[in-house]
């Protein structure tokens, strides 16, 4: 079994290295194929491990080699395959494999094809380290590793120039990449602090050792660690206020968005909270957990609201990702860790499917993403239309698709915990989700044909690509059916992940579900009437409405990016400039130079005593005698002199 762990972990790494060998040469299809195959191997290994774990229940824990040891600090490269990590491993490798295959088709025309696969496989490798590590520092390796790969992949089309924020809210791929990296770094600092707190209080960073010592720790330490680690999670999972990078990250190629910014990396924050569930379920940190749930709910709502008016296909999906991450945090914060993890998995499948469908549209439309320029695409792209529609149904949570089971469980949890405000907001958000998802589907695939007039001639994606997406569709359909067996599977970890609804909630569950379904269906209907009709009643762009306050507020993302630019980026640049030109050069350096200049100037002054005139010289001698007299007299008077006997 141990070798399977290594296979699962290192197969993507080998793929990455293999692809990087050809990084600078021409496009080679086999590079993509080999990388995909290796990922598939990794998936198989993960699946075998999962099956083994399901059957035997033996958690595999291995230590590969020492990493850092100094003083009492000792961290090794250790990996653990338990229910949590194996869930993530399977999901990650599965989605990755499909995205890899998809990318072979999608990146067909890109001259940096090989480089792309190198990055993408490297990402998977980092992600595997992240989920498999048995200690916080190993997790941090993966954490940073996925950050770098995200940076590389978002900025993949580095050659694109910067644009004005009005023309492109993400400015440019390289800008978006940097934004993502830097924002994540801010959160990473929080994570590091969490690691420091845990190390100095427990003397270790290995999960089991740390968690075993948690009960001995004081409240402040626990709260501090919980907050610090959650700050780390906020960055990676793009929670408010560190959320702006996620939508900007849509500048990357679509497979990247599907894999990294929907299915896997952004869920790392959720994974961290789930992984640290013994910490977050401590009574002392209940406040923090509540905050996590509230923030998650808020983000779910907040992101959904922005998606309502967005015109950019990918950004809508990004907002929906953000919103769904909010759901996951809400569940995790409320203690339903396994539900969060289950939603994470289900979401990974349907969201990847949605994104890949979006990629097909984009590919067909020559990178045009404006919904207002599409319409009636279903005739030309039937397969894509089916996939995207299907994925949207999963997303909005209609039974029997995956989204229904997991999301409904979260809403139920909010009800069960008597946090009714959260519950109401989550329900409303579900309605909003339904509206914007189908607004997007209808605007692009239904209604009047707006694209032909603009000179677009869309065509369907390659067959093998569509075929590759099929497993995702299947998973989006069936995942939910295995909820109870998953529950049974993950409950073996221990008490802290177990979560059951109260009997009261259990009785009401069916009505609650029906209510949500009703809201969702009415939203879809509304969207249909507004956007999907043709002819007379076809949707027309209403420029006037776009000037409204709320519309502008939403389309400008509540002016948060603007705020960051005006109050953080620009002042930072300004202060830096002041530090450099005003303080460093004018004060610190000038002081040093002035000391030197002072001596030089004194020299110039003093040298004037050297007039060359003998008479002055002789006078100086007399002056000198006077000085000596003065010195002697003074030192005698102040007692330095006299006779010491």
């Amino acid at each position: 079994m141990e070798s399977l762990v290594y296979v699962a972990l290192f197969a993507p790494f080998v793929g990455s290295l293999f692809a990087s060998l050809f990084g600078m040469s021409e496009r080679q299809i086999f590079v993509g194929v080999v990388a995909s195959l290796l990922l598939f191997i990794s998936f198989l290994a993960s699946a075998l491990l999962a099956a083994n774990l399901y059957i035997t229940g033996d958690v595999i824990h291995i230590t590969m080699m020492d990493w850092i040891s100094a003083g009492d600090f000792n961290v090794a490269f250790g990996f653990v395959v338990d229910q949590i990590s194996v869930t993530m491993m399977t999901v990650v490798t599965l989605v990755s494999t499909i995205v890899h295959i998809y990318a072979i088709g999608y990146m067909d025309h890109d001259k940096s094809f090989n480089r792309f696969f190198s990055y993408l496989s490297a990402f998977v490798f980092s992600m595997m380290i992240l989920v498999m590590s048995d200690n916080f520092l190993g997790l941090f390796i993966g954490w940073e590793g996925v950050g770098v790969c995200s940076w590389l992949l978002v900025g993949f089309w580095y050659h694109k120039p910067d644009q004005d924020r009005k023309d492109n809210p993400s400015i440019s791929p390289s800008w978006a990449a940097n934004e993502a990296f830097i924002m994540n770094r801010i959160a990473d600092l929080g994570m590091l602090v969490g690691i420091f707190i845990l190390y100095w209080n427990t003397g270790s960073l290995q999960y089991d050792e740390v968690f075993a010592k948690l009960p001995e720790l004081s409240e402040s330490v626990l709260v501090g660690a919980a907050i610090a680690l959650f700050i780390g999670a906020m960055g990676k999972s793009a929670q408010f206020p560190l959320h702006t990078w996620l939508t900007d990250a849509m500048e990357g190629p679509t497979p990247v968005s599907a894999l990294i910014h929907a299915a896997t990396m952004v869920t790392a924050g959720v994974f961290l909270v789930v992984r640290s569930n013994p910490l977050y379920s401590m009574e002392e940190v209940a406040g923090v957990s509540m905050f996590i749930a509230s923030l998650g709910t808020f983000v779910a709502f907040y992101a959904a609201s922005m998606a309502l008016v967005e015109r950019d296909l990918k950004r809508i999906i990004a907002y929906s990702t953000l919103s769904q991450l909010g759901y996951m945090f809400a569940a995790a914060g409320l203690g339903a860790y396994w539900i969060a993890l289950f939603h994470l998995a289900a979401h990974a499948f349907f969201k990847a499917l949605l994104f890949l469908g979006g990629g097909n549209v984009m590919h067909a439309m020559h990178d045009e993403l404006d919904l207002f320029k599409m319409g009636d695409l279903r005739k030309k792209m039937r397969g894509t239309w089916l996939y995207m529609g299907f994925a949207s149904i999963a997303l909005v949570g209609l039974p029997p698709l995956a989204g229904f089971w997991s999301k409904d469980a979260i809403i139920e949890t909010a009800f069960n915990e008597h946090t009714y405000i959260l519950w109401i907001m989550l329900v409303i958000t579900a309605g909003m989700t339904a509206f914007y998802s189908f607004r997007q589907v209808f605007l692009s695939f239904h209604g009047e044909d707006r694209h032909t007039a603009l000179g677009f001639h869309p065509h369907e994606m390659y067959k093998f690509v569509l075929a590759a997406m099929f497993p995702l569709a299947v998973l989006a359909l069936i995942t939910g059916w295995f909820m109870s067996s998953y529950k049974e599977f993950i409950y073996k970890i221990g008490e802290s992940v177990q979560y059951e609804m109260s009997d009261h909630t259990h009785h009401l569950a069916i009505y609650l579900a029906l209510m949500v379904i009703f809201i969702v269906l009415s939203s879809i209907t509304f969207a249909y009437f507004k956007y999907a009709r043709t002819g007379e009643k076809a949707w027309k762009r209403d420029e006037e409405k776009e000037q409204g306050f709320f519309y502008k507020l939403l389309i400008n993302q509540y002016y948060v990016p603007k705020f960051y630019e005006e109050f953080i980026t620009k002042p930072y640049a300004m202060i830096s400039e002041v530090f450099w030109t005003k303080i460093d050069l004018k004060i610190v350096d000038a002081t040093v130079d002035n000391i030197a200049k002072f001596f030089y100037a004194t020299g110039d002054k003093t040298r004037s005593m050297q007039t060359g005139n003998l008479s002055n010289y002789l006078n100086w001698m007399a002056v000198g005698a006077m000085i000596l007299l003065g010195v002697a007299a003074i030192s005698a008077m102040i007692g330095l002199g006299g006779i010491d006997g």
């Binding site: 001596f599 004194t602 001698m621 005698a625 006779i643």
Partner: protein, 496 residues
């Protein structure tokens, strides 16, 4: 009834006089040879002088420590021996510098060499006695010869320099004489050991303090002048500039050694007696001298003038050691000068080999910095050697002056004068700038013009001297230990 004068030759201990007599005799021989044949070449006289100096050196080495002679006027103690050795050693390095490839006026006269030997005997008298009369006689003999030697360089500047030096020297001599009067009036003696004895018994008298004040100030003016301490240093830059480069280098070392010996004898006596203000006077003069000379050196445009100020600053540095009045302090004076001698003479010799008959680079100066621009391209070895001298002067280890410097600073620290050590350190840092300036010109700038004429005055003997100075500068670390233990032994043997 008058007793017949009966002086036994043994009690005279004439051997103590031998070194000076050798020098004087040598000078006379040179004059006589010239009378017989006045067409002889300077090389003869140079070698003759050198031989005389060798014999002289040997005679000094043969002296026993702590002897008196010639009616107890001569005092051969440790410091008189080591200072005589250093004086002769410095002179031996100096005299071959006459053998330049170009002809210079002064070396055409045999009188130059005779006067030179007389001057040495003067210095030797100064250091080998504790009698104020003999000190005065030695001092004046040496000074008068030196004035003449400067003037013999035969340029407008040399006369100006000689006259300035002469007049100020005469004034200093008057101050010395007056100081001696006060001492004599106080104690009825001009022999320092007796003076010390008398003063020690009468220290509690108030009136005495005033007189001590007078005598110490008068003598301090005289020696402040000789040692070029601020504000009596004003002659030094002009005289160094006017004199020929080797002579300027010589003046920055040998006369100062002699003057330091006398200063140790006189002011050391005062400090030993517990007259603290003398210590403070010296300290303040020393600090002022090293600092002001340093910052004046910063702004110089001429290398020779810069070296003149630097020599003043070094003298101030050493003067501070004198104020410590410990064996270590006194040892450090000699150690410093022994190490400084090679480097400084070497540096001035480097100027000497680049000396032109006419001023090519600047109307006012012989050795402006521009002259050395890009020297690394013209004569790489010369540039490296000069840079070594400059670094040594700046106190960069492992070159010779550094070892002197840390010994002085260690002596200051050991006596509790940490502030003094810090001032010394900071001064070294300031000084580094102007030494560096020359290095910058030599290594980092492009040559300006007349590139072929920089080593105009080069000759084999000069190369030997420079090579020797370089060797001594670079390998200092290996001979500091024997030198130091010898000096320390000699000085502690003579009770300082």
């Amino acid at each position: 009834m008058l007793e017949p004068i009966n002086v036994s030759l043994d009690s005279l201990n004439l051997i103590t006089l031998a070194p000076m007599l050798i020098a004087i005799a040598g000078g006379l021989i040179i004059l006589i040879i010239d009378l017989i044949n006045n067409k002889l070449d300077k090389t003869l006289y140079v070698m003759l002088t050198l031989l005389v100096l060798f014999i002289n050196f040997g005679a000094v080495l043969g002296l026993n420590v702590n002897e008196r002679g010639f009616f107890d006027v001569m005092l051969i103690d440790g410091i008189s021996i080591i200072s005589q050795l250093m004086i002769i050693g410095g002179s031996m390095i100096f005299i071959p510098l006459a053998l330049t490839s170009k002809r210079f006026h002064e070396y055409a006269y045999p009188e130059f060499f005779a006067l030179f030997l007389f001057m040495i005997s003067g210095f030797q008298f100064m250091v080998a006695t504790d009698n104020l009369i003999l000190i005065f006689v030695g001092l004046e003999t040496a000074s008068l010869s030196l004035y003449t030697l400067i003037a013999m360089h035969n340029r407008a500047n040399s006369y100006e320099a000689a006259v300035k030096y002469f007049i100020m020297g005469a004034l200093a001599a008057a101050f010395f004489a007056m100081g001696s009067v006060v001492v004599y009036a106080l104690t009825g003696s001009v022999e320092l050991y007796k003076v010390a004895e008398v003063l020690a018994t009468r220290l509690d008298e108030t009136g005495l303090m005033v007189a001590i004040l007078g005598s110490s100030i008068l003598l301090m003016v005289a020696f402040g002048f000789k040692l070029s301490l601020f504000p009596f240093h004003t002659w030094a830059p002009d005289v160094y500039e006017g004199a020929s480069a080797p002579l300027a280098g010589y003046m920055s070392v040998v006369p100062k050694i002699a003057a330091f010996v006398v200063s140790i004898r006189i002011f050391g006596m005062y400090i030993d007696l517990g007259v603290e203000w003398v210590r403070w006077m010296i300290l303040i003069l020393a600090v002022l001298t090293m600092t002001l000379a340093n910052i004046m050196a910063l702004v110089q445009d001429d290398v020779k003038r810069m070296l003149a100020y630097s020599s003043i600053s070094h003298a101030g540095f050493i003067m501070a050691a004198l104020a410590l009045d410990t064996t270590e302090g006194n040892t450090s004076i000699f150690l410093y000068y022994a190490l400084f001698m090679f480097t400084n003479l070497g540096a001035f010799t480097m100027l000497w080999i680049s000396r032109h008959k006419k001023r090519r680079f600047n109307k006012r100066y012989d050795h402006p910095y521009e002259k050395f621009s890009g020297l690394i391209k013209i004569m790489p070895i010369g540039a490296v050697v000069m840079a070594i001298f400059m670094l040594s002067l700046a106190g960069v280890p492992p070159f010779s002056v550094f070892w002197g410097k840390i010994y002085v600073m260690q002596a200051a620290v050991n006596s509790g004068y940490i502030w003094l050590a810090i001032i010394m350190g900071l001064n070294s840092a300031i000084a580094a700038y102007y030494y560096l300036k020359l290095i910058v010109y030599m290594f980092l700038k492009e040559p300006v013009k007349d590139v072929d004429t920089v080593y105009y005055n080069m000759s084999k003997p000069l190369m030997v001297i420079i090579g020797f100075a370089t060797f001594a500068t670079v390998t200092a670390v290996f001979y500091v230990q024997p030198l130091l233990s010898y000096l320390y032994y000699m000085i502690s043997a003579s009770g300082y």
